[in-house]
Symmetry: D3
Subunit: 291 residues, 6 copies
């Protein structure tokens, strides 16, 4: 008796009912204004994940210590319809949180965050956002398009309102976007400076954590459509993720903007696998005692 | 006194008022369901065109014999809004035909044809379509999206009605699409067999000529998103273009689906340059006597 | 309730008990003497298969007309142990044929054929082999290694004996290999000339059908480790596969030597998807009446 | 009325008469001794520049605040004649400085600096050179060729004489070159250590600023023909450029040795775009008050 | 006792004194006007040659049957000096023919032919040229440069005079070049049509045989700088080489314009290896009896 | 009189009898479990070495100051037989040390270390190992295979016993491997912290020095099969190599795991060339006085 071919991120092998954290892919890049290809990211990291180990020597934890990671695969998203794509992402996220589980979404372009965040925001209206990115993503529209990767955080802002979005690593945008952020958000330019203080102030609140991987310097992460030099290092990002997850109450998370078509060596894809593993393990805080 | 940096397809150096044929790019691939990147095609062929000559030894004609080719550059199209993109393409085409000139559009994905064809159809309601492609593009929708590359010829059909679309080279599609074509169109599978007869029957009519370059076998044209083996050779396509243009009254034309991101060697881009040169020269029939 | 992420070749969606044809991958290339990478082929074609249609306009058949294709995924094979890898392939094949189903294996390097063929040979000791390839693969050893891709057909010969192996398309090898073939096999150089006659003579016999995809000319199939010009075209191979499957009693089949690392554009991978689809449909002969 | 296709670096949109800073490309790499391809750099950065913003959050300045950047395009340079190529570059530079404007040249291989510098030196015989590079470029000849990328700074030395060339970041060369530099130049190995002092000492002098981009570590800049590890970081280079331009009287500047053929991901090209933007803004010091 | 690392084309292992045919590389591409990289060709084919066999099933001959092939390696050529490079090539060729051996040169760009041909012409003033190419290479100058790849056959013409150059496969050039050829040469457009007759008429004469590999259609040979579709197939070229060498008295031969940087899959390089093997074996006519 | 084509690493031009340090390649990657291709590394660095200089400005030493570097080329190793490959490597190493010379091996995958180390260990039974790597390589088996790259240090451990292996830079492995190392080895996680102390304690002992180049962060070294972020910088590795070689008695050394197939830009290969040059010069300590 042979089995069907199941492909999941390493160590994500429980049944859905036992899951506490649910991974899924949002393979959509229809509004990408420059080099496309992030639609292939979630599939790529599943395959590439077999090149790393389930054990983290940083945390001395192993994905196999836990039996509650579930990979529900990619949503089938229609290129050419932002509305329908966001609706599907919203529904998948809604299902996961209604079942009492934590969603971890792999984009896709950054616009996919909007679909997931809407579901989170409905459940947790006081949620705040921690946003790691090279770009503000605060445009009101991009060539007239409101549902664009370049506007996604602005759309989130319209849900949460003033001073609920905490940006780090930002080093690109129009002057207007920086001025907007100054008035309405909590924007930290260039690095993670100030992250400790922000995290301290957010303790006890529900947090949505969105990472546009181009926050990394392109020397670490060339496999993305709009590389912006002057970014953070891998170790800085790894540490910042640790700071955020280990101290705050994360209710949803995503990582976006890996473009495997631009990752000739496969290294950028491997980097994301490592961050996903570390994030899954970090999100399992307080659980290991029960094991 | 130095000049601004003007970049056009080779030999396209007249002023707009003197132009008879107007080239433009439609850099849009937002609905591409598989590998994207055709948005970079029109820019790529302009740059690559300097690798070929203006003279065609096939036709013994030279682009420099004529002084009425004009390259109006790329339209700025918003990724993420099919409607707005098609509207902009429609307007550019409308301008060109209202000024009494012939539009030659370089895609982009095949959906861009719809914008150009709408303008043509308004002007010439009896126009018929010659369509070279590997795929039928006759779906009614693609994952619910009506304005998709996979549906573009179906949308054109809704304008022109039965038996006005003549497909050649088709070798991929759903069974439903082939059945639809059997009833409503004039579909020739796999090759250009029957082209001579069709051309004979269309003499005197206005013709829109749309070429999805994946009609070529991928051995000739790997630089495209959905390679489909079993296609025509370069020489067959060159001959078929000659057959169509030299005998029919072309009122608009396009070439689509080159994806430079998938063209590591640059050869597919060079192929399109050669076809554009040959097409420009073919479209100049009857003019050389005046020179 | 969300599902696990199942990834199969398109249209292979029945349950195992209902399956008549079982696809599996043999991701092994440990003995490849030149450019490696075929280990990634089976996974690549599953993912790439969503770029083609389930319907074949050549055969006017659709994978969805049948509900007995099953994709049992890749075997986990240990790089560095030819013996253990071949044993695992043997066991998977044995299971499939003991369950009364037909195995279709995707390599991997050509050595994997030996594992599958051993199981077939045990079941059908009179089986003969049709072998499409650029290379004879008849070396007795390669740098002292007997279980090498360069020796695989020699090892099969040692099972079946004289005049049971029918090679086509061969255009590379040592003189000794060609002399060996002259005496012990039925080798057709360069093309499929003679295939019709051979097929006629084999009617009624059990046939194992092994295709090293480098039988194709590299203009059609650059994505392989030892490209050898002067090969057959895609259409010739498609026709030859039709000739073989439609007239003979195939008891096992494989396709080998796609190397996705060498397939920058993805076209070679797409070619294999198309051949797998056509082969699945061809292997379903005589079945459609029952559906 | 449609316009010709003008392609310039972002934000370079004034008319020539209004220009204060004039960009041009020198697409020449005929003497490159190892991996070629820098001929494509200037064209690549124009196209790629649309992936970045005109606004710099580092300087809180926007290219659109100024209306005096002009991009005069690429000079047509004959591969295979160093003399003719250098003469053309000399003439373009001469025109620009005679019109009272500042030239910013994008190479090409480093040899192009010689053409531009000759024009600058004629105008400003006391000019000194700041030279960022991994290599000394101080060979007297390369396989007998005097006009070679490997000799370009030696040729400049022959114009300016002793102690007028200030090298930084150097980490490769023949021993003879380092000995020559010790005696005749002001060479700083490996880093920008000492730059502040040198800049202090050069205040009030006319400075030609030449950057061979391989001064960057290849982790930041793989897209170059002779990658030399142990180089400076992007942030260090950005800071060093700031130090030089903000304090000194730059009369000409160039950036060389980007090779887009070696920049599979496009990241190295994006890096140069960012440096060009920052340099344009830095070179606009003292101007913003007038706006 | 260990040996130095000797790297030669397969089967080229005799000592110089025993050699009848001497291979050498001319790694020069300084005048290439478009995509460079042919400088790496000769080295690439040596390394790649181990992927093919020494035995040819086409000719039933084996490089190892003969012991007079010698690979003298690459000449060290100075990028940036056409004159010096051509002089070095001339000298290497002179040495070989003065030693009574036959030179087979691997370019490099096509300009290298001029250096070799000068030496041949001095020895055999009545020599005629058979020239396979996509391009005429008959320009008088290219942007003022006389020693350019685009002019190489014109320079050869100036040595041999009228009606001594026989071109085949030509499909690109300026009108002037075709007119020049009509008057002064024997140009056959597009294919090898007429080759049999030309060969018949040249019997008994000394022949220099120069192959610009872009005579091949880019579907067979994408790895070249100026791909020109509409070319000959591999089998046609293989047959044409057979026709020329087997019937004529070849006194020198070259193959040019492979650019490994553009050959992502390695297939174009493998193609050249096969042609070199076949050519070496063909050039050994009349010798096998003596073995 | 022309010479055979000798290809060696730059500056390795003495005769074997005069050699003190002997370079050789071990082009084997048959057990690589993920992306293969390291078999091409030794050949690649020979060719690439001509892109760097023989002079090191770090050490103010030149390879040409010494005349005792010898490059004995690559061993011909049979893919598909770990035992035979290791035996050949063992024999080459044995020859070199029996002739009183120091071996410097270029892999290949890391398994090749076992062959070389066995020969060293026979000669120097008290030898200890310094091991730079991202991975522990301490598995007992990998899918049942004992002679695997993933087990190579475990196999070495079985020779030397407890506390003789000093690992640095390790950041990936199974928990069991880290626990094993804790008990039996001297493992330093993530960095070179502690190297100075270890080196101090090892003074006077014979040392085998094995470097898996993936100890480098992938931002510096993307050209490897299992990129693992969080690694050391180039400067840190260069300094650590200096620390080890300048103070300890190295009796054998290797560098492994460069995969040129994954090094699109060539930068990773150039990095290894620089490390090999620096290592050769460092290994020449105390010799320069004799020159």
């Amino acid at each position: 008796m042979l089995n069907k071919n199941v492909v999941t991120f390493i160590g994500c092998d429980c049944e859905y009912e036992d899951a506490r954290i649910v991974l899924f892919g949002a393979p959509f890049d229809s509004t990408t204004s420059y080099r496309p290809g992030t639609r292939f990211a979630s599939n790529a990291i599943r395959n590439e994940s077999y090149g790393i180990e389930t054990y983290s020597p940083y945390l001395d934890k192993d994905l196999e210590d836990y039996h509650y990671y579930f990979d529900s695969g990619d949503i089938e998203l229609p290129m050419g319809s932002n509305e329908m794509a966001l609706q599907s992402i919203y529904e998948r996220t809604k299902t996961i949180i209604q079942d009492g589980k934590l969603p971890l979404m792999i984009g896709g372009e950054h616009l996919v965050t909007l679909g997931a965040f809407k579901a989170i925001f409905e459940q947790y209206p006081d949620v705040e956002i921690i946003h790691f990115d090279a770009h503000t993503d605060l445009r009101d529209d991009y060539l007239g398009v409101k549902l664009s990767h370049a506007c996604v955080i602005r759309r989130c802002y319209e849900l949460v309102g003033d001073h609920k979005i905490h940006h780090f690593g930002i080093r690109s945008g129009m002057r207007e976007e920086f001025l907007f952020a100054k008035e309405h958000c909590d924007l930290h330019k260039f690095s993670f400076d100030g992250l400790e203080e922000v995290v301290e102030s957010l303790k006890g609140k529900k947090i949505y954590f969105t990472i546009d991987l181009d926050v990394l310097d392109p020397s670490y992460f060339p496999g993305t459509g709009t590389p912006e030099y002057g970014g953070v290092t891998f170790k800085e990002l790894q540490q910042a993720i640790h700071t955020v997850i280990s101290q705050l109450d994360i209710v949803g998370m995503d990582m976006n903007e890996l473009s495997p078509m631009l990752d000739a060596s496969g290294a950028s894809t491997a980097l994301v696998c490592k961050l996903v593993r570390e994030s899954l393990l970090e999100l399992s805080k307080g659980e290991e005692e029960n094991e």
